[in-house]
């Protein structure tokens, strides 16, 4: 198992980073986030069509590039660094993740053409579950499906739903848990979100016609798999956010002077940043490990995901909090991007399971049971 970045991965990172440097500067991200167009769909088109970020881990037979979740994780790192306002998590990781998992089951109903359209970026999809849902949570019951696939119900705080043309929706049908693809008959209301760069939205299905993509155990497994992939790859995003916060803080403290010295020469701050760097070193290893374990379907993946998500979530929040504090007053202003990172880190801590949830999930996996 390689915990390093391959040359191909580094090339991909370079391409994404350079595009984002051009098109996704903090000031433009900030300017967008209070408008009615929180997503930068122009940037999204370039990312999908020119860099192909949405097709990386999609098999070639389904119109993808047949790379792996390792590469997708690298994209998550870079999008995280830039808090880029694009629906990558909801679309490529969660929705496509659910469809790919459903497609791999024996009685798959997922059509290759649907996956191909998503992989190519022709349609934007989202997974209609609360962003806070964790891999081990019960199958949701807030949406019901009739025998002929008509969906009624709601899902709150859905990531990237506001940008979505298609929803992958878990619903309770007459035969139990099912997964539907829905392209119309739903209403999306954006919520005022803590994370300005990844707004959540509330979805109401009012007699929407859904196309069944999985049912029964396959539906349950597909949803759980998507959430697990999501949690594991969110760790990569958290790593990116943490790195951004550390680098930005170090750069500021080298420049900012107080008491006739660069503030970065004060030992108490140096030690805090050294500790943060230490955390990020370990977060990087944990995130890489999770991406690799998911990519190769290692049986150890659930442990790797729980470790990565519980660790990286905390590291990202810590990095963002230190970033605000060590920028002093300027870090408290709306103009400085530190708050965008803080809000992303804090929302990510909740997304796909809090660190505490992931530790609780880890306990039985590594034979560390709690008190009886």
């Amino acid at each position: 198992m390689s915990l390093l970045y391959s040359d191909v991965e580094e090339d991909l990172r370079g391409a994404v980073r350079s595009l984002l440097a051009d098109r996704c500067a903090p000031a433009s991200v900030l300017a967008r986030c209070e408008t009615g167009e929180p997503y930068d769909l122009g940037l999204w088109r370039t990312l999908t069509r020119e860099l192909g970020v949405t097709s990386l881990h999609v098999p070639e037979r389904l119109g993808g590039q047949g790379a792996s979740l390792r590469e997708t994780a690298v994209v998550m790192e870079e999008l995280g660094r830039a808090v880029a306002p694009v629906p990558y998590l909801g679309h490529s990781v969660l929705a496509v993740g659910a469809l790919l998992a459903a497609e791999s089951s024996v009685e798959s109903r997922v059509t290759a053409s649907l996956v191909a359209r998503l992989a190519g970026g022709e349609l934007i999809a989202a997974l209609a579950v609360p962003l806070s849902m964790w891999p081990g949570a019960d199958f949701p019951t807030s949406v019901r499906a009739s025998g002929d696939g008509v969906l009624t119900g709601r899902a709150s705080a859905v990531a990237d739903a506001f940008a979505a043309d298609l929803l992958v929706a878990p619903a309770l049908g007459p035969d139990g848990p099912s997964l539907y693809a829905v392209t119309s008959g739903f209403a999306v209301t954006p919520a005022v979100s803590l994370d300005l760069t990844r707004p959540v939205a509330d979805v109401v299905f009012d007699g929407a016609a859904g196309e069944l993509v999985a049912s029964g155990d396959a539906a349950v497994a597909a949803l759980s798999s998507a959430l697990s992939v999501g949690a594991g790859l969110l760790a990569a995003e958290q790593l990116g956010v943490a790195e951004q916060c550390l680098e930005s803080t170090v750069a500021y403290l080298k420049e900012r002077r107080q008491f006739g010295r660069p503030v970065g020469s004060f030992q108490a701050l140096k030690h805090r940043l050294a500790d943060l760097w230490h955390e990020i070193v370990t977060a990087r290893a944990a995130a890489r490990h999770a991406a690799d374990a998911l990519a190769v379907r290692d049986p150890d993946a659930p442990v790797a995901v729980a470790v990565a998500q519980s660790h990286c979530a905390a590291v990202a929040v810590h990095a963002a909090e230190e970033c605000v504090q060590l920028h002093g007053g300027i870090g408290m202003t709306w103009e400085h991007p530190a708050h965008l990172w803080l809000k992303r880190a804090k929302a990510d801590e909740i997304a796909l399971g809090t660190p505490g949830r992931h530790r609780a999930a880890l306990a039985p996996l590594v034979n560390l049971p709690g008190p009886s």
Binding site: A191, L194, F259, R261, Q325
Partner: protein, 396 residues
């Protein structure tokens, strides 16, 4: 209490005020002015300046009587900077004329005050401030930029720290003024925060004119004058009395009690840890007040602010995590300019973000730790590279 005025005498004077100016029948401002003139505004101030020269503790007697009678107060939340920072500084360094001119409308709230100290390049290192004041006949002309000014858009007056002599080391070339906020050379712009609102302002001074009669302290003595202001700021923060669970811990405990379905074992122990720490901090505050009451003020005030900031941050962070789904939401990002701030107001997301400021505003936690280490523990200071260099030659 000073033997000159007993508690009974103080009660008697308060009742006299109430008899002469029935709060139910008297205009609010008129009552406040009368209270000031009776020496019952702040009894520890001198006679003639709203006080009676009594110990600070005697105020409680007056306040209790007035509250019982339904008398109006001076809305201390709205005029905190005037009461807590400007007034003690004027009292210590002001001329008689200044004291007579400024203190009465300050106390009654007719004139709101703000503080023009911090600059973009001089935050923790306040003594590096560079807003330049140049002599112009009987006046001074001030040019520079100040920041983190609350109430600037409502304020009539400001206490202002300036650089009058750039050719001497930084602590020596500063002068302290009262600045007229209605001067055409003063421009106030809202400064938006990470919470979405603009609680503070930036203030741009462009040849703002200040008569020399509005100088507080000598020319070049500004740093010492500012120390009085800052010391009173820190005392004010540490001095509030609080029942158990007052403040952020109460808000989070309330959420915990109302939402059993959100509880986990992990969050439970974290909450209990924070509850215990908050309670211990509250008791330390009580202890500090008891020390002050017997005239033995300890250095614990700095500990109060340090602990308050850290606990408020950790508690509000826990609440957002506890709320999970709801923690992903925010109440309102609209740019607003609130007149007062309530750290425990609004919703969890706001509280989490606002609390981040608690360890920055009014002295960062890092500066407080320096102060504790050096002034309380007596640890040696770091090598200083900026003490003996003329201000204009400091590296920037």
């Amino acid at each position: 209490m000073s033997p000159a005025v007993t508690v009974d005498e103080l009660r008697r004077r308060t009742q006299e005020l109430l008899k002469a100016h029935d709060p139910q029948a008297t205009d609010r401002l008129e009552f406040l002015r009368a209270r000031f003139d009776a020496g019952l505004a702040w009894v520890h101030f001198p006679e003639g300046l709203g006080g009676l020269g009594l110990p600070r503790a005697a105020q409680a007697t007056v306040d209790a009587e007035l509250e019982a009678a339904g008398a109006p107060d001076n809305e201390p939340g709205r005029i905190g900077i005037g009461l807590g920072m400007a007034a003690p500084t004027i009292l210590r360094y002001g001329t008689d004329a200044q004291k007579r001119r400024f203190l009465r409308p300050l106390w009654t709230g007719e004139e709101v005050w703000c503080q023009l100290f911090s600059e973009p390049g001089a935050g923790s290192d306040l003594a590096a401030a560079g807003a330049r004041a140049r002599r112009d006949g009987d006046d001074w002309l001030v040019t520079g930029q100040k920041v983190w000014t609350s109430s600037a858009h409502n304020a009539r007056w400001a206490i202002l720290l300036t650089r009058t002599d750039p050719d001497v080391p930084k602590h020596q070339g500063m002068t302290y003024f009262v600045c007229d906020m209605t001067d055409p050379g003063v421009e106030v712009r809202p400064l938006r925060q990470i919470t979405g609102e603009a609680e503070f302002n930036e203030v741009f001074l462009t040849d703002a004119r200040i008569p020399d009669t509005h100088r507080l302290g000598d020319v070049g003595e500004g740093w010492q004058v500012a120390q009085t202001t800052l010391m009173n700021e820190r005392v004010a923060i540490g001095g509030r009395a609080a029942p158990r669970e007052a403040g952020m811990v109460g808000v989070v405990a309330q959420t915990w009690r109302e939402r059993p379905e959100l509880r986990t074992h992990e969050l439970h122990d974290r909450l209990l840890r924070l509850w215990v720490e908050w309670e211990a901090l509250r008791l330390a505050g009580d202890r500090l007040r008891q020390q002050l009451a017997v005239g033995a003020p300890g250095p614990e005030g700095s500990a109060m602010k340090l602990g308050f900031a850290s606990l408020s941050q950790r508690l509000s962070a826990l609440e957002v995590e506890l709320l999970a789904d709801e923690g992903l939401r925010y109440d309102d990002w609209t740019l607003r300019r609130p007149e007062t701030v309530d750290f425990t107001g609004r919703e969890a997301g706001y509280r989490y973000l606002r609390a981040k400021g608690n360890s920055i505003e009014g002295g960062t936690s890092e500066i407080l730790r320096n102060i504790i280490a050096e002034r309380v523990l007596g640890l040696p200071s770091e090598p200083r590279v900026d003490k003996d260099i003329p201000w204009k030659d400091l590296p920037r």
